[in-house]
Amino acid sequence: MSTLDYIRTLTLRSSLTSLIALRALRRNKMRSSLTALGIIIGVASVVAMVAIGNGAQVRIESQVAALGQNLLTVFAGSRRSGGVNSGLGSASTITLADADALRRELPDVLATSPEDTATAQAVSNGRNWSTTIAGESPDYLKIRDWKIASGSMFTDHEVRGAAKVAVIGSKTANELFGPLNPVGQTVRVKNIPFIVIGVLTSKGAGMGGQNQDDRIIVPYTTAMKRITGDKYLRSINVQIVSADRMAAAQQQITSMLRQRHRLPDGSDDDFNIFNQKEIADTVNSVSTVITLLLGAIAGMSLLVGGIGIMNIMLVSVTERTREIGIRIAVGGQPRDIMLQFLIEAITLSLLGGLIGILVGVGASRLVAVVADFSAIISSGSVILAFCVSFVIGVFFGFYPARRAAALDPIDALHYE
């Protein structure tokens, strides 16, 4: 017999053996589907967990990105008086001059927005709403990567003149003006009338869960002079030229501010710098760990499913001892018998894997709809789940198949 004939025979026999295996599975529909269920649940949970984990990660990343590109925030230190700590930004340490110096003297700084905030009651025609009043510079929108939905941002000219103009968030616009177009309307804060010149696009919940769309942005000069009366800033938003300059820029800002504030060596900073990239990295690594953890738990259920397959295959081999004896007697080689049961196990687990992928995709879609959350199904996890279910079939089918192939034909033929 030529090699070609041999290969042809093997191929044809393997496909016929697959048919026999499929038929055996079809015969025990209930048992087969219950066995496959273990794999279905395992694969589905791996696919869904990874999809949900990826979705969470992308969502966090987009929230971090929504803070702005390459953003450093310099907060004033905390103020402590009589044992009461008033928290970050409460100390009077950062001045407008600091902000100017950062922008003028550090080449890595692209833009700054001095920030002074207060919470106040805003009053429109017939409605009122408690919201955050934030004094900012015109660069604020660029720094935060934020767009104007209608109207326009105030200008440097208006900042210099401490103009009574305001750009409001979409939530605030809705609360104060309802369906009306707020642009051109007046909103009163602490009895000072501001002309609304722009409405921001919606940005949704921020990292801490607060609604970023609920705020009124006014020129920082106006805020300091007319609303808060502060001489100092709460913080400075600083945009750095590129991501790889972030660390260096943070160093430069620190040394510059220490110098300007004449802090002696060894003393603590009287300000804090928040690095957006560092936060993003931390959050990312946490969410990666969570995704891995969820995947590992789902993987455990795959293992349990595999053991289920092994169990059923052992039962099947015992039940079909006589069949095996007949097959061996008429010329079935150990390899043929082994292949038959191995294919049966692989078919079970691959079938479970395929259905599991469908269920997993369905489940993550459902979660996405119910929880308003985009689960991201990666083709990698789907392919991996499929391969893993194949490997499980081989691994857990091997022992029962080998047992079948090693049966003694005489005993097997007389098995009752």
Partner: protein
Amino acid sequence: MTTQTSSVPVVQLRNIGKTYRTGPVEVAAVRDVTLNIDPGEFVAVMGASGSGKSTLMNILGCLDRPTSGSYLLDGIAVAQLNRKELAKLRNKKLGFVFQNFNLLARTSALENVELPMFYGYPLVSLRAQRQRAIRALERVGLGDRYRHHPSELSGGEQQRTAIARSLVNEPELILADEPTGNLDTRTSIEIMGFFQELNDSGTTIVMVTHELDIAAYCKRNIVMRDGLLISDCPNENRRSARQERTRLDQEEQKAKLV
């Protein structure tokens, strides 16, 4: 009928022995059996249970290995072969018929008959398998019942299916282990009829039985006791299944008239 002494014997057993070890006790199931079976023979192996005839059959069927002696099947020394080679040999040279038929349940008669071809090298095409299986079933008179499953067939029909399976690969030797043990008299005669027909067309058959009635249809009778071959003689007054059937019909007719 003459035996073809000129060609190679199908079976050559030289001083075959088989001892089982159960704990400290050694049991000799077969002792020093020397035996030649030529092509075209029809041999009955008789003996009480425990006489070693089943063990001898298992050795002849390459399902069991002797602990001593040599066995040539169609000139091939069996002792040196591994499991895989034994399987190939069984597939090519041997056909089995069992007392309890040993058909695959929930599989049609046709597929049961196709089974030995499924394990054949080289694999014949599916169409050729089907044709050969149908031809084998036609030979045992089941040409119209091949779609039925074993549970839908009578005992005689099941055994005929098993005979069709045993001869589908055109083996050198058919081994039948108490083939009529589970059948009534009329069906037994019918089955022996098929064996006689097969033998007439040149197939060598070795059959284990403990019934003298059944051994009477064979050409040569071998008797075993305690693992030893104690008698080996040609069957002088051989029964013909066809004549027996006619006689049985007449007896029944008579019984009805009375």
